[in-house]
Amino acid sequence: MNKIKLTLKKNPTVVLETEVISPDYFLERTHEEICASVVYHGKREKRLDEFFDVDGERSDCIEIHGDLQRVRHVGRAMTRGEVTIHGDVGMHLGALMNGGVIEVHGNAGDWVGGEMKRGKIHIHGDAGQQVGAAYRGSIIGMTGGTILVDGNAGIEVGMRMRRGMIVIGGAARDFAGLQMKGGTIVLCGGAEIRTGAWMQRGTIISLKNLALMPTFAESGVYNPTFLNVYSRHLKTLGVQLPFAEVDGRYRRYSGDQGVPGKGEILIWEPAV
């Protein structure tokens, strides 16, 4: 398949902002046009090929190699195609994304999929803070799509999200699901404190025990059939969600009473 391959050849000394690295932008552009795309090294306008070797043209399939920790806004607002990154990548990966697939074989910075609408992001390593979250002052975070993080994630996972799904394979830090309005967060490795704080609606599923806010009230045990559906969906994404009664059950908590909200947190209790 026709594909554009970018290889980092010069390490940025400060932040490199590259919202042009996006399938939508590259699709109709020639090799020379891609090479000449404007990126921002700190405050200075530079050509993309000052930092990357560029191979290929006119494709919505992008493969990037190198340590991109300082490279931000890759795949911003993309609506189609694929971006595959071999290495770590910086902030705002796939922010405002509206379709397509991003895969990172490495770690990602903060704001992965910030306010994204559609599409899929898979981070094989760790992610930073504010995965799928709302930007400062926005009322709504992620409104659709899927974010998978195999490793750990920072604070405020899914802050103010309304729809969509976030799966954290490892542990999340504080405030996962902060002010959540809908959608689903699956925490395979549990989370630190204040999970679901101020949530209005939505579901947080944790496979590890959680220290919950005092404003969540236990509302019974739960083996709902919809988890079966979730489980099958998650299986296609490579995530195992237990749902059989013989294996255990989910304890259900509702809150956050401080709002007051109608969110739910389901915590898996394996059968003894």
């Binding site: 000394t13 400060v14 932040v15 902002e17 919202e19 921002y40 700190g42 405050k43 200075r44 306008e45 300082r70 806004h73 911003r76 902030m91 903060d110 704001w111 803070q129 504010q130 930007y135 400062r136 009322i139 504080d174 405030f175 902060l178 404190i193 204040r194 704080a197 101020w198 806010m213 005092p214 404003t215 009230a217 956050d256 009473q257 401080g258 709002v259 007051p260």
Partner: protein, 319 residues
């Protein structure tokens, strides 16, 4: 969604009959706050002054400010956010049990009493300090108290205000807002202001090494910031303007001594409630003012060739 409900300090002086200090120690950090604004003043509405006012201190330890208070609520360290969220639930008559309250270190009776006093107040005010805003949860702790204050307005008049330290930090906040739209944590690298605390805030920027030259004025990060941040300041060219040769000056490439504001440099400063006040310097300094030095650096920059080149006048879509 909450919001921010606040007032000027004169309103507190004239009207506030219920004053809560949360995570701050005004007796030692803002010594005249009690006497000038909150507790001791009499007004037509509060003719008996201190006797007409109730003060509550919420803190993790019994500081000197506790002596001035009518009620001291000792919250367990790191449980402010939980406590405020419980209060948000209780003012809305959500069922809260003794067990839910336990982790805050307070009893349900204490919280019920606090809630009923808040609701009975004619004019309530929360002042919050760094004990709230700088502990785990940071801006969310402040947001929690601001939200509680906003929600209390369904019952009575209630406001909240941060106890800003450090002289004129409020002025910086106010000016950045009118000139850029944002209070702090700003980047101009795309030719217009963008805002993202965590991305553009200084400690994060320094720790990640996202800057290659630092201009420091009216602050001494070399004495207060985490070591990796200080290390980066030492690594890049750092420029310091300060009345003293500071810790930061010692690791800087350039230090310029300036006249201290309000002592020997004239100008304006904003109080914590965003009221501007003129400065009346008593001394003549042998050093130039910050204002003069920064203006001259700016003028020197303007004389250099334009590095930016042609850019559009305006963008419809920001990044």
């Amino acid at each position: 969604m909450g919001g921010k409900v606040t007032c000027t300090l004169g309103e507190v002086k004239n009207r506030a009959d219920f004053i809560v200090y949360w995570g701050g120690n005004p007796a030692e950090c803002h010594p005249r706050h009690f006497t000038k604004y909150t507790l001791m003043q009499k007004s037509p509405f509060l003719p008996r002054g201190r006797k007409d006012r109730t003060m509550v201190l919420v803190d993790i330890r019994e500081t000197k400010s506790a002596k001035a208070s009518n009620i001291f609520l000792q919250v367990r360290p790191g449980k402010d956010f939980e406590l405020i969220t419980l209060l948000r639930a209780m003012i809305k008559d959500q069922p809260i049990s003794e067990a839910q309250v336990a982790e805050t270190g307070l009893t349900i009776e204490q919280l019920q009493d606090f809630v009923s006093r808040m609701k009975a107040a004619k004019y309530g005010v929360f002042f919050f300090g760094m004990g709230l805003s700088m502990t785990r949860g940071k801006h969310m702790n402040s947001a929690a108290l601001l939200t509680l204050a906003a929600e209390m307005n369904a019952f009575t008049k209630f406001v909240a205000m941060p106890m800003r330290g450090h002289g004129n930090v409020t002025g910086a906040d106010v000016i950045m807002r009118w000139q850029t739209g944002y209070p702090f944590g700003i980047s101009f690298n795309r030719g217009y202001p963008r805002y993202n605390p965590g991305e553009f805030s200084t400690v994060d920027v320094l720790v990640r090494g996202d800057t290659d030259c630092a201009f420091i004025i009216g602050a001494d990060p070399g004495a207060t910031m985490p070591q990796p941040a200080i290390d980066h300041l030492a690594k890049v060219p750092t420029i310091v303007l300060d009345p003293h040769v500071t810790h930061t000056s010692k690791l800087a490439r350039v230090h310029i001594t300036t006249a201290p504001a309000g002592i020997s440099a004239p100008g304006t400063a904003y109080r914590m409630d965003e009221i501007p006040l003129p400065l009346r310097p008593a001394l003549k300094s042998p050093y130039p003012s910050d204002e003069e030095v920064v203006r001259r650096i700016k003028e020197a920059l303007l004389e250099k060739p334009d590095w930016m080149g042609e850019r559009p006048q305006m963008l419809q879509n920001q990044i």
